[in-house]
C-alpha cells in the first residue's frame, strides 16, 4: 500500500516528464481505436456487459449533442419573424377564425375536367354486390329474384318520388337515408353539420353514384353557405365537395372532410 500521496509529491517537487502533455494527447486520440479493437475481440459475458455500457454511453452522447443543437435552434427562432401578419385592428382578436384563401374556382374547375382528385382517402375497400344488395324474392310463389334492397346508407335527393313498388328494382330503405353530414374543414380544424346536396362520385362504381350510396371514400357535395366562404370575385361559395371518412353503415352518422 502506498504511503501518503507520494506521486503527487514527486510531481510537485520534480515536475512531469517533458513529453507528458503530448503522450496524453496521443493516448486520448488513440482511445477510439483501442476501444474499437476491444469491442471487436471481446466475447462472452464481458462482451454483453461492455455492449450494454457502450449503448448507454451512446444514448447519453446523442442526448447531449441534441441539447446543444436545440440551444442553437432556439436562438434562431428568437430572431425569426412570425408568419401570418395581421394589422393592428386584428391583433387582439386572435380568437377569431382566420380562414385562408379557401376556394380557387379555376383550380377546382381544372380538377373537375381532368376527373382526377387528390383526395384524403385515395383508396377504398372494394364492396361486392353481395354485400351491397340484398336479393328480395317477389311474386306469388317468391320465385322472382330481380328486386334488390341496398344495405348501405344512401342519399336521396329532395324531390325524389319512388317508382311504383311493382316496378322498383332498387329499394333504398328510409331508415338508411341521410340528409346531413358532419364536415370538417381541414385548415380551420372545425366541424360543421352541413346539408348534403348530391353524391358526386362513389369510387366503387358509377351505379352506386347514381343510386346515391354513401360509403367510405364517397365524394359528396355539401352546402357550405353558412361558412361564408368567398371566391376571388367576391361571390359566396355555396356548394363544395367533401369526402366521407368513416363507415356510415357502422357508425350511423356521416363524417366527411372538406376538399380544399
Amino acid at each position: 500500500m502506498p504511503q501518503n500521496e507520494y506521486i503527487e509529491e514527486s510531481i510537485r517537487r520534480h515536475g512531469r516528464r517533458l513529453d507528458y502533455e503530448e503522450r496524453k494527447r496521443k493516448r486520448a486520440a488513440r482511445e477510439a481505436h483501442s476501444a474499437a479493437t476491444f469491442a471487436k475481440t471481446v466475447h462472452g459475458l464481458r462482451a454483453k456487459l461492455y455492449n450494454k455500457k457502450r449503448h448507454a454511453e451512446k444514448i447519453q452522447m446523442k442526448k447531449t449533442i441534441k441539447q446543444h443543437e436545440e440551444k442553437q435552434a432556439t436562438k434562431k427562432d428568437a430572431e425569426a419573424v412570425p408568419e401570418g401578419a395581421v394589422p393592428t385592428y386584428l391583433l387582439d382578436r386572435e380568437g377569431q377564425q382566420r380562414a385562408k384563401i379557401l376556394s380557387n374556382m379555376i383550380k377546382q374547375k381544372r380538377k373537375e375536367k381532368a376527373g382526377k382528385w387528390t383526395v384524403p382517402l385515395p383508396k377504398v375497400r372494394g364492396i361486392t354486390e353481395d354485400e351491397m344488395f340484398k336479393v328480395i324474392k317477389t311474386g306469388k310463389h317468391k320465385t322472382k329474384q330481380w328486386k334488390r334492397m341496398i344495405t348501405k346508407p344512401t342519399f336521396v335527393g329532395e324531390g325524389f318520388t319512388r317508382k311504383p313498388p311493382k316496378y322498383e328494382r332498387f329499394i333504398r330503405p328510409m331508415a338508411l337515408r341521410y340528409k346531413k353530414a358532419n364536415v370538417t374543414h381541414p385548415e380551420l380544424k372545425a366541424t360543421f353539420c352541413l346539408p348534403i346536396i348530391s353524391v358526386k362520385k362513389n369510387p366503387q362504381s358509377p351505379l352506386y353514384t347514381s343510386l346515391g350510396v354513401l360509403t367510405k371514400g364517397t365524394v359528396v357535395e355539401v352546402n357550405v353557405s353558412e361558412l361564408g366562404l368567398v371566391t376571388t370575385s367576391g361571390k359566396v361559395v355555396w356548394g363544395k365537395y367533401a369526402q366521407i371518412t368513416n363507415n356510415p353503415e357502422n357508425d350511423g352518422c356521416i363524417n366527411a372532410v372538406l376538399l380544399v
Binding site: A85, P87, T88, Y89, V230, T232, K235
Partner: protein, 492 residues
Amino acid sequence: MATRGPPKRKKKTNPDSNVSDGSENLGNIIAQLKSVDDEPCGPPLSLPANVTPEQLQLLVNQLLNNEESLPYAFSVDETEIITSLHKDIIVGLNKSTEDVLTIVYRPQAIFKVRAVTRCTSTLAGHTEAILSVSFSPDGTQLATGSGDTTVRIWDLNTETPQFTLSGHKNWVLCIAWSPDGKVLASGSMDKTVRLWDPSTGAALGDSLLGHTKWITCLVWEPIHLNPSCTRLASSSKDGTIRIWNTKLRRTILSMSQHTAAVTCIKWGGDGLLYSSSQDKTIKVWDTKEGKLVRTLEGHGHWVNTMALSTDFVLRTGAYDHTNRVPKNEQEAQEWALKRYQEAKGTKPERLVSGSDDFTMFFWEPSTSKKPVARLTGHQKLVNHVSFSPDGRLIASAGFDNSVKLWDGYSGKFITSLRGHVGPVYQVCWSSDSRMLISASKDSTLKIWDVRTRKMKFELPGHLDEVFSVDWSPSGDKVASGGKDRQLKLWRN
C-alpha cells in the same frame, strides 16, 4: 270580360305615372334658402314644386353673385334633394305645400374625382401580408408597411417598386407621412419607431426606443401648428403615448394614464391630442405640457377607432386640388392654417369614435366631455370610421358586412350600404366627398356613390382579405394591399 281586363289596368296606371313624373303643374312652394351656418340667402322665394337641384344651384349662384357657378347640394331637414323637391320632400317627407320650407344649401367640392374602375398594376414584392398603405400628403408618393418587416416606397409614375426600407425586426404595423411629405415614420411589432427619408430611401438614424410593447398608431403634429414637422406621437399596446422630437430623437412627453392598450390617436388642429383605448375611454391631452385635459367616457367596450371632422385637411396640410407647391415652411403653414379654418368653420372640431360595443359616439371634445349623440345601428363591432373631407358625412365600417353613413353635424343615421359578404375593414373617402371606397375581408373593394347611396363599382382582384386601402389625396389613384401580399393600384 277577361279579355278586357289588362287594357283597363294599363289605362289606370298611365295617368298615375304622369302625375308622379311632375311634368304637369304641381303648384308653388314658398321656400327660404339658408347656408349651413343658418344665414338666410335672399328673401323667401316662391318656387315651382318640381324644382330640381340643378335649377336650385343656378338660383343660389345668382343670389350669391358668384363669378363662377359653384356646385351645391340641397337638403330639407337633413334629407337631401336628389331628383326634385316634390318627389323627395313633399312626397318623401310628407311635408305640406303650404308651409315655408327651409332649404339648406351646402357647397360641394368644385373639382370632381372620377371613380376608379380598373386595376392598372399588381405589384408583388412584399413577402408577407401588407398591413398599411398610405399616400403622401401631396399624393405623389406611396408607401406600404408589411409583415415581412420592410416598408416599401413605390414609384407612382411607372408603377414599380422604388425603395425597400429594411431595419425593423418584426411586422411593420403602421406608417405615417409627415404633413410636409419629407419624412416617413413607421411603427412596428418590435416596439420601435423608425424614420425614413422617402426621397432617397435612407433611414434617418436608428430606431426610437421607449415603448415596451408594439406600436399601434402614429400621428404627426399638423403643419399649421409646427411648420418644421418635428413632433410625432406614437401609441402603443402598453397603454402609453409618447411624443417624440424627431430632430433631437428624444421622447419629449410620455402620457401613461390609460390602463389598457391605446388603439388610436389623433392630433387635432387646436393642439389637442385625442387617444382612444381598450379601457373604454377616450382621453384628451394637451400637447404642450402633456396634461390630461378631459376624459370622455361612454363606451361600454374597447374603443377601436376615431375620426376627426378635419382629418383630411390635417393630413394633406398645405396641399389641395390645385397642385400648388408652397415655397417655404411659412407659406405652407399659412396655407394649411387657412385650409384648416375653412374646414373647421365656426364650430369646434368634431370627433367620432367607434367601439366594440357596436355603437359610435359623437363628441365635441375641445369643449365638453358629454357626447353629442350616440350612433347605434351596427350589429357587430365598428372597426373604422371616417369623416368625409368636407366634414358633412361620417362613414363607418363594421364587422356586420355593412358600411353606414351618418350625418356629420348631428350624427343622424342616413343610410346603410350593403353589398360586402365579409366584415368591412376600412373605408376611405375620395377627396371631393362624393365617393367612398371600402375594403373587406371578402377580398373585394367596393366604390359607393354617396349621392345615390348605391354601389358604383365593385373591384374584385385581390386573392385574399384586403387589410388596407387609401385614396390618393389628388384623387386619381387608389392603392390597396392585403393578405395576398400584392399591392394593387386602381385608376379610372
